[in-house]
């Protein structure tokens, strides 16, 4: 019984080592990772008019924040990535090797190595430093999804489907990228039987409804310029392909963990990858695990997708231009996730080889006791993920530090929340990313003001990406209403502030349904003297202005019916699945625990 908790305990330990100070009081802000105190569920459901990228992850955060402090919710989300990832990969390997039978100590060692390798690698570190916790939550669920697909063959359809839905819960929270990764990782394995493939597709669709339906009806477009901006890049001396094989290659140089890619650590990492791939080939050949072909196909397919933005950017951009549904393919490095799972299992298999512990490959007398050299090598191999990537240790070496929001931010949030009248908040300067001085160490982050208020917030969702030649690629945003409000303001591209006559601002903004203007950076905004604008809160890095009521033509923002209906359908499916599994387990255990069963 105690042994069942080993994967979870190991996951908690790894989470503590990786996150460290990030688990303390305060909110960790970094690139896309924005948590705010008391987030509003209503605001999330009102959302934006473009692609609903924040659904359902932000909705889940907002719902949890009604019962827990915001920083606790963030710590839970980040910790879940490591705990679920370690436990899932650990159990996947031991389940594939030993089935439901007892797992010997050597198997536990191999499982632990698999679990550690799955969450301690460049992919996790770079996505964490990019702030994409929701993607990582889906990534953590991949081994669970693959295991659930494998189990479909041994359960009645309803029971197998319920298990699959539960395994997909992290991906459902993570949103579209997580669901796509789940399909890529488990799809080829599920295709062994049409029934399994059908059940997987049904589960993915049912759990994707909160973002799938609005994205289909919104007519959202995706800018093909994103291919050039978000294609994989080389972050090691081995080029883009080598970097991707090592599970790195994220587009953003600022998301590379400290020290990663140096020749020595990169060479050590490459050696580990070679051992892992050799372990995978050896295990696949000797034991023929049921996922061998499917996961190999997933990994190769993922690598091809990851390279598409590098090798054939033109055709990929044309595809995205043709249909925005191809948009998720622009961030290529994301798709090495199945390769990461394959390498983790391969490293675990290498440990089994070193310890001569793979069932069926030893004599009837049992495996010979491994020598000291093999044992030391096993320990070194097991810890190699940390040795080759020390930059992830203890909050990514200071890259993940919690901070408190300045009082003016909370005052602005409270002032808007206290106002029952309808009307949106416009966030200035007109640029999505900030480097707030109050965040301690300079760190780039999506402006937290975009998620601070309990109503529709209009902000510039264009994405500016710097290129190595000193240029800039601008990926056009997806919120048409934001474009509509911004257009008459003649916004200065350098300062992000309106260029129109100040006296015209209240009417221009009020007529488009804006009631508040939040200036979320320490700039000389020049709005204090404008007639028709009333200063509500002023701090060094947050000023909130209210547009006089006479100018505002706003109607109440209602939550999107399709989003709510989709969310309720997904939630209902998930609750049914949990209930079905509990009922089935109770029924299964009932007779077994009765007298006279002899078990």
């Amino acid at each position: 019984m105690v042994l069942r908790w080993i994967p979870w305990a190991l996951g908690a330990l790894v989470a503590f080592l990786a996150l460290g100070p990030a688990l303390g009081p305060g909110h960790v802000l970094r690139f896309d990772m924005v948590f705010v105190p008391d987030p509003s569920l209503r605001a999330v459901l009102s959302g934006a008019d473009g692609f609903p990228r924040a659904i359902p992850s932000d909705a889940v955060v907002a719902a949890l924040s009604t019962v827990l402090p915001g920083h606790v919710v963030q710590s839970l989300a980040l910790t879940s990535v490591f705990v679920l990832g370690v436990a899932g990969a650990f159990r996947l390997l031991t389940g594939l090797v030993y089935g439901r039978g007892p797992v010997p100590a050597t198997g536990l060692a191999a499982g632990a190595v698999t679990g550690l390798a799955y969450v301690w690698n460049p992919f996790v570190a770079e996505r964490l430093l990019l702030g994409q916790w929701a993607v990582l939550l889906g990534y953590a669920g991949l081994p669970w999804v693959l295991a659930a697909v494998v189990r479909l063959a041994s359960f009645p359809p309803a029971r197998g489907f319920a298990g699959l839905v539960c395994a997909l819960a992290p991906a459902a929270v993570g949103g579209f990228s997580s669901v796509v990764l789940s399909a890529l990782t488990a799809g080829p394995t599920a295709l062994r039987r049409w029934r399994d493939a059908g059940l997987l597709l049904l589960a993915l669709v049912l759990l994707s409804l909160p973002w799938l339906v609005p994205s289909l009806v919104s007519g959202a477009a995706t800018d093909p310029a994103g291919v050039e901006a978000f294609a994989a890049r080389s972050d090691t001396p081995f080029g883009a392909l080598g970097s991707l094989l090592l599970l790195g290659g994220v587009w953003n140089a600022g998301a590379v963990p400290p020290g990663y890619g140096e020749p020595v650590t990169a060479a050590l990492k490459a050696l580990t990858v070679v051992v892992a791939l050799a372990g995978w080939v050896w295990w696949s050949w000797r034991a023929r695990p049921v996922v061998a072909v499917g996961l190999s196909v997933s990994a190769v397919l993922g690598l091809v997708i990851a390279l598409a933005g590098v090798l054939v950017p033109g055709p990929l951009a044309a595809l995205i231009d043709l249909w925005p549904g191809f948009g998720p393919l622009r961030d290529g490095q994301l798709y090495v996730a199945p390769l990461s799972l394959l390498q983790s299992l391969g490293l675990g298999a290498a440990v089994l080889w070193l310890l001569r512990a793979l069932p069926g490959t030893t004599s009837a007398a049992g495996p010979p006791a491994p020598g000291m050299g093999r044992l030391v090598t096993t320990v070194l191999l097991g810890l190699s993920p940390v040795v080759t990537l020390p930059g992830l240790l203890w909050g990514a070496n200071g890259g993940l530090v919690p901070v408190e929001y300045p009082p003016a931010w909370r005052e602005a949030q409270a002032a808007v929340a206290a106002d029952e009248r309808p009307g949106a908040v416009l966030v200035l300067p007109w640029s999505a990313y900030r480097g707030p001085a109050w965040s301690g160490e300079p760190v780039v982050v999506l402006d937290p003001a975009t998620k601070l208020f309990d109503r529709r917030t209009l902000w510039n969702d264009d994405l500016r990406v710097g290129t190595p030649d000193g240029g800039t690629v601008v990926v056009t945003g997806e919120d048409p209403r934001a474009r509509q409000v911004a257009e008459p303001l003649d916004l200065d591209s350098e300062t992000g502030m309106p260029g129109v006559e100040s006296a015209e601002l209240p009417e221009l903004l009020g007529s488009t349904g804006v009631r508040y203007v939040a200036v979320s950076a320490p700039v000389d905004h020049g709005l204090s003297e404008v007639e028709g604008l009333s200063l509500v809160v002023e701090g060094t890095d947050m000023a909130l202005f209210e547009i006089d009521d006479g100018y505002v033509e706003a109607t109440p923002e209602n939550g999107s019916v399709v989003v709510v209906a989709g969310a309720l359908t997904s939630l209902g499916t998930l609750l049914w699945a949990v209930f079905a599994i509990i009922r089935e387990e109770s029924r299964r255990r009932g007779p077994a625990e009765g007298p006279g069963t002899g078990t």
Binding site: F31, L130, A229, R233, W251, N252, A253, G254, A255, V256, P258, G259, Y260, E262, V264, T265, L268, M372, L375, V376, T377, T378, V379, L380, G382, L383, S384, V386, V387, T388, P390, G391, L393, N397, G399, P429, S431, A432, Y433, R434, G435, P442, V444, L463, R464, V465, G466, T467, P468, T472, E494, T495, G496, A521, P522, V523
Partner: protein, 46 residues
């Protein structure tokens, strides 16, 4: 059992030493983001 514990100690010591060396190599190499101006930033730089 003693052999296993000894192997763990030796392996962990070697791994720890290698991690320290790698960490030292890692310093001074953190990428920093350049602001567009004093208050606005790119999403990131390639």
């Amino acid at each position: 059992m003693i052999k296993v514990i000894a192997a763990c100690v030796i392996g962990a010591a070697l791994a720890g030493g290698a991690t320290v060396v790698a960490t030292n190599l890692a310093t001074e190499s953190t990428a920093t983001a350049e602001p567009v101006n004093e208050t606005l930033y790119n999403y990131g730089d390639r």
